[in-house]
Assembly symmetry: C2
Homo-oligomer: 392 residues x 2
Amino acid sequence: MRILNFSEAEYTSRLHRVKARMADAGLDVLVITEPANIYYLSGYDAWSFYTVQALVIFQDVELPLWIGRLVDSATAHITSYLPVDRIIPYPDVYVQAADRHASQFIADAILRESPSVKTVGVEMGAYYYTARDHAEFLKAMPNVRFKDAELLVNWVRFVKSAEEVAYMREAGVITERMMARAVEVAAPGVRECDVAAVIYHAQMTGTASFGGVPATSPPHMGFGPRAREAHPIFSDRPIAPNSVANIEISGCRLRYHAPMSRSIYFGKPPQSYSDLASHVIEGIEASLDVVRPGSTCEELELAWRKTLSVHGIEKDSRLGYSIGVAYTPTWGERTASIRRGDRTVLQTGVAFHLMAGLWLEDTGITITQSFIVTEDGYEPLTKSARELIVKD
Amino acid sequence: MRILNFSEAEYTSRLHRVKARMADAGLDVLVITEPANIYYLSGYDAWSFYTVQALVIFQDVELPLWIGRLVDSATAHITSYLPVDRIIPYPDVYVQAADRHASQFIADAILRESPSVKTVGVEMGAYYYTARDHAEFLKAMPNVRFKDAELLVNWVRFVKSAEEVAYMREAGVITERMMARAVEVAAPGVRECDVAAVIYHAQMTGTASFGGVPATSPPHMGFGPRAREAHPIFSDRPIAPNSVANIEISGCRLRYHAPMSRSIYFGKPPQSYSDLASHVIEGIEASLDVVRPGSTCEELELAWRKTLSVHGIEKDSRLGYSIGVAYTPTWGERTASIRRGDRTVLQTGVAFHLMAGLWLEDTGITITQSFIVTEDGYEPLTKSARELIVKD
């Protein structure tokens, strides 16, 4: 049994692009630990990254090595395109043990495959590459030069293929359904967790033709006074009348994301809050107007900032970030950000979440838009109207 | 507005126990980055750990410092017991930026508070303490001696208070409901993702008197030939007749967990599979018979192993692990494991997931039991019958 979400040709093309960057960076070997990067390059897909695992790419050997825990190797055989002899399991004595560490096992496997290896790249700031993982690596390979290769693969992921865009569109459809269900169910007196329940239900059922999987993150939902918070967890308290709810969610299709936020007002919103919503929407439109190949990230931010400053509003946090394939804890790709000083140039096939959330002293508002850059502009990944939703 | 899940007295008692261990370890300062440890010691609860954050404990200063991203500081004010002046936000320019790193900001805050600090503990192997976070720390505090303090707080968490046990019992009730819904809905022809949908729905709605939050991990569900996998993700394929499904889930109450796995057979199970289930259940009973204060983890494993070896069955992976409060990516506490060589002594108030899963060449079976150790034995955290569930 083998389940691949992409063609072998696509995996091969991704691998070649990574090897080209490895050559530029002078790397003999690249040790990939970020789960999204492992999935992107091999197909391997399991919730196993809480123990040490790696995909190791050798410049001089055609295929990578998957190295992970024995009980998860069946998943490597089933979900990756790698042949049996490129899947190397370590025994369970290495799991969360005080007396040994799986980095030693991985180092041994690298040295067996490539005894004369000189330069090894590691993803220094990647999730699940802990300080200890790295320290044990250094000890186990004392004659090797380590280089930081964080984001090397993430930047290869920056431009999406047609197959990836198709999954992101499907994720967007799921996102719309999740939000529609939330809006339908949320009302004064309803518990926050019961709104979360229908969001999750819609996230998994997806549509009749394709299902979803969990996103990297729970719905970020801030109700009433907690609308000032950017990443709160919902509670089992009932929604209050004449209050606001910020809801940030993402559908997820085969690990591809298309996030969206909306604010819901329960009751008649005060004029000041309706005005705030109008200003945010105006800012988003101004920013989207600039989106096309050749524009830079900071130009998108500038268009927003100019528009908002007219109304005396300033946003402290970045206006958005690159999105695509992701594992917990974030659907951001950690490459380009829509903010002042980021001169990354947009091109066809890059994707962003324009995260125009404002978290202010006394309230907050979150109306956002995910999009893919196209040849002549952008394609929205979610089609829901950009508006303040009012349930009166 | 302030929302605390525990009394201030409980937070103070936890802090004192941590400071006692810091004294033993010779630490002036402890930088805590594991989200569950931050929550345990301060109450702070947000999905913000994808950017750098820390709770810093000073041996000579009464209260810790929370340091994190500006947009998340509102959550620190609302969910932690810390006063305003102990909450230090950093601006968004530190977020996923190439030219600066939040470890520098944290180091500056530590040196401001404690200019003569000599020894700083860090959680080297903790999730979200990346190799880069640590490297930047070393650079920013060149005159400080760093010591590995991984698991220092986790071991303080090992024995649960009465308040914690109460939350874990509630989590267990949610777990039972999640599994009951899965068993109700799962059937040949039903898509895997639609089973996941009802599991998630039940996880959030909880009961009429308390709601749930997402667990650290999605339901691990292996259907048919994928029952050989320990941590697979579900798909949108329909369940096949005459097949097995392994489902591992956990209800979660205010970040406290009570996991459980069951296997479901759709159709009449082959005799060999029913026998396998009987052997596993027999092994679990044998292991539980040994549970009481004073027993060691390896004695629990030995009782299991002796029972299973009679039937020629061997389990490669550990038989269980300590549980309690947890954030993604795992509900295990990474302290004690039920396995050969682990001589941790059980005491009243410790909790484990007896994870008796077997992932074999051609199939798998997962029947498990979470429990709290009591004065004279144990209390099961889930009351569901330990059995192979058959839907014929």
